[in-house]
């Protein structure tokens, strides 16, 4: 597998959104239902922008599944995916091979990507229970990376 980006540990990048309230997340999911994320969810939310054609996304896919499964037990974090510059059928097909169970938003006009300032996939945002963005990663993440970021956010009072 091609590694076009360095490891996540060194590519948590600056974003004007970090420390601020996350943009509103609402739209239509890949299966056609309406989705709205409350301003304050009460638990951590991982928002992952991805595309089926993106090799780094394919690298992190199984890790996201692992993360979602682990935290579905504890209930302290949840996953949301947003399709970035990809067709919904291709994205759904890709996710079906991964076995994802979380909501995936179609973003046909790119409005969600723009509101989060996404440049390329994969881009992952960690949103704290109070609705603030606490981390922005532009690389394949692992479940361990996300756990570390959540632990750091908790340690700083998020």
């Amino acid at each position: 597998m091609l590694a076009t980006r360095p490891p996540a540990a060194v590519v948590e990048v600056q974003s004007p959104l970090v420390g601020k309230q996350a943009p509103t997340i609402h739209g239509t999911t890949a299966d056609g239902s309406t989705f709205v994320l409350p301003r304050q969810t009460g638990n951590f939310v991982v928002v992952n922008f991805f595309a089926s054609w993106c090799p780094p996304c394919q690298t992190e896919g199984p890790e996201l599944v692992k993360f979602a499964f682990q935290h579905s037990q504890s209930g302290d974090a949840r996953m949301i995916s947003v399709i970035f510059e990809d067709t919904t059928p291709a994205a759904r097909s890709y996710q079906a091979t991964l076995g994802t169970t979380w909501p995936t938003l179609a973003d046909p006009g790119g409005g969600l990507a723009l509101s989060f300032g996404v440049r390329a996939p994969p881009s992952t945002f960690l949103i704290a229970p109070d609705g603030r963005v606490v981390a922005y990663i532009v690389a394949p993440v692992t479940a361990a990376d996300l756990d570390q970021l959540i632990a750091r956010a908790k340690a700083t009072g998020a």
Partner: protein, 427 residues
């Protein structure tokens, strides 16, 4: 007529007013339309997923999204700054291509203005001094019993030099007869008025007739013959100072020229995209835009950023669905990515695009090579692959490409039980 006789203040003033009028947009009677405003903003917003391209110049999907957002917000009546602030709040200040007007970046804006103001101030001072010297009693400061002899000697030297300059200009044809005579009469009068200490010699003469209307003779063309050793010493010091000043001006000018070259040469020498000017602005025809998009995609692909390259080729296909280069390259990318990620849908898409590419342009050697490789490796169809490779070889591919593909070509022909063409090099 020489510029010396123009009212310089008038020339300067008129130039300044014209510049301000044009620069201030006085002649642009109508306010910009929403489309013009949107275009001007798009030109200074960086494409988030590209290298040094504005969203106006990019065909990346995210750039299209940004353009749509800008136009929407312009239509909503938001100001340019509000729209830029909206984007900066999401992408950071790097999203704006033009330098910031605050912090250190503001120097980019301030320094040229400051430099211009300093230049104008220097010009004003020079002109005021020249005007003071050129009007009224020019030598009032060197009259009277208490005049410093050094100052007096300097004035004499200046006038003598002025006469010599006038001679030279006249001989060179830069000065008309009437002007020359007037200048000469004035400076000679001033020299005479400086008093008995003025002991001129006519060390040389200029006797020249340039026209029937003017005959000039017996001009003083050398410096003052003053025997006062103090004055001579001071004269030498003044001359040395002047030479020193001139030397600094010369070095400064050369330094500025070299600095300008240092900036300009890399700017003009660096590789540019088709239609891109040295300043970075781009005005492209549709075919140039297409060529540039393909170049950009190829560069990204060669850099190993396959996902981004795929986006760029896809963007080309959005506007040019039959472009064989984009079809072939995207098909090949999808095939490679699909094989790495074991994605049947991507591999299936790749097959469709490669077939479209060879149908769109049967003479495109790369499309035949890609499709043949796909058929051999993915479908196990050596005979079909050999057919494609035959078309590849008859499309006159570069020798380096043939050499690079030699092993897969040989494999296809051997597996299909066909003779290996002579043009394929051995491993």
């Amino acid at each position: 007529m020489r510029i010396r006789h123009f009212p310089l203040w008038t020339v300067l003033g008129v130039t300044l007013v014209v510049a301000l009028v044009i620069g201030g947009g006085v002649f642009s009677s109508a306010p910009p339309t929403n489309a013009q405003r949107a275009a001007s903003i798009e030109a200074v917003i960086r494409c988030p997923s590209c290298q040094e391209l504005s969203v106006a110049d990019s065909t990346a999907p995210i750039a299209i999204t940004v353009r749509a957002t800008i136009r929407h917000q312009v239509d909503q009546g938001k100001s340019d700054q509000q729209i830029k602030d909206y984007l900066v709040a999401r992408y950071g200040s790097v999203i704006v291509l033009e330098p910031s007007t605050s912090g250190w970046s503001a120097l980019v804006w301030v320094l040229p203005i400051a430099g211009g103001l300093v230049g104008i101030a220097v010009l004003v001072v020079v002109l005021v001094r020249r005007r003071q010297r050129g009007s009224g009693d020019l030598d009032a400061d060197v009259r009277g019993p208490s005049v410093d002899p050094v100052v007096l000697a300097e004035r004499r030297h200046f006038l003598t030099q002025s006469l010599a300059d006038a001679d030279a200009e006249f001989l060179a044809g830069d000065l008309e007869d009437g002007d020359y005579l007037a200048l000469r009469q004035r400076d000679l009068g001033r020299l005479a008025a400086l008093g008995p200490a003025m002991a001129t010699t006519t060390a040389s003469t200029v006797t020249t007739t340039r026209s029937a209307s003017a005959t000039v003779s017996t001009l003083p063309a050398t410096a003052v013959a003053d025997s006062d050793p103090v004055l001579e010493s001071h004269e030498r010091q003044s001359s040395a100072r002047r030479r020193g000043r001139n030397r600094w001006f010369l070095f400064g000018s050369i330094g500025c020229f070299v600095a300008a070259l240092a900036v300009a040469v890399p700017l003009f020498a660096q590789p540019r995209l088709p239609g891109q000017t040295a300043s970075g602005s781009v005005s492209l025809s549709p075919s140039q835009q297409l060529a540039r998009s393909l170049d950009q995609a190829a560069a990204v692909e060669n850099a190993g950023q396959l996902g981004q390259a795929a986006q760029l080729y896809q963007a080309v296909l959005t506007s040019h669905p039959d472009n064989e280069v984009a079809l072939a390259q995207l098909g090949w990318l999808e095939y490679r990515i699909g094989r790495q990620g074991a994605s049947p849908s991507l591999i299936s898409d790749a097959r469709v695009k490669l077939s479209q590419a060879v149908n769109s342009n049967p003479g495109d050697y790369a499309a035949h090579l890609y499709l043949g490789t796909f058929m051999l490796q993915q479908e196990g169809n050596a005979s079909g692959a050999a057919d494609q490779f035959t078309l590849f070889l008859t499309s006159k591919p570069p020798g380096a490409v043939v050499a690079q593909a030699a092993s897969v070509l040989r494999q296809a022909y051997a597996t299909a039980g066909r003779p290996i063409p002579s043009g394929i090099p051995t491993a």
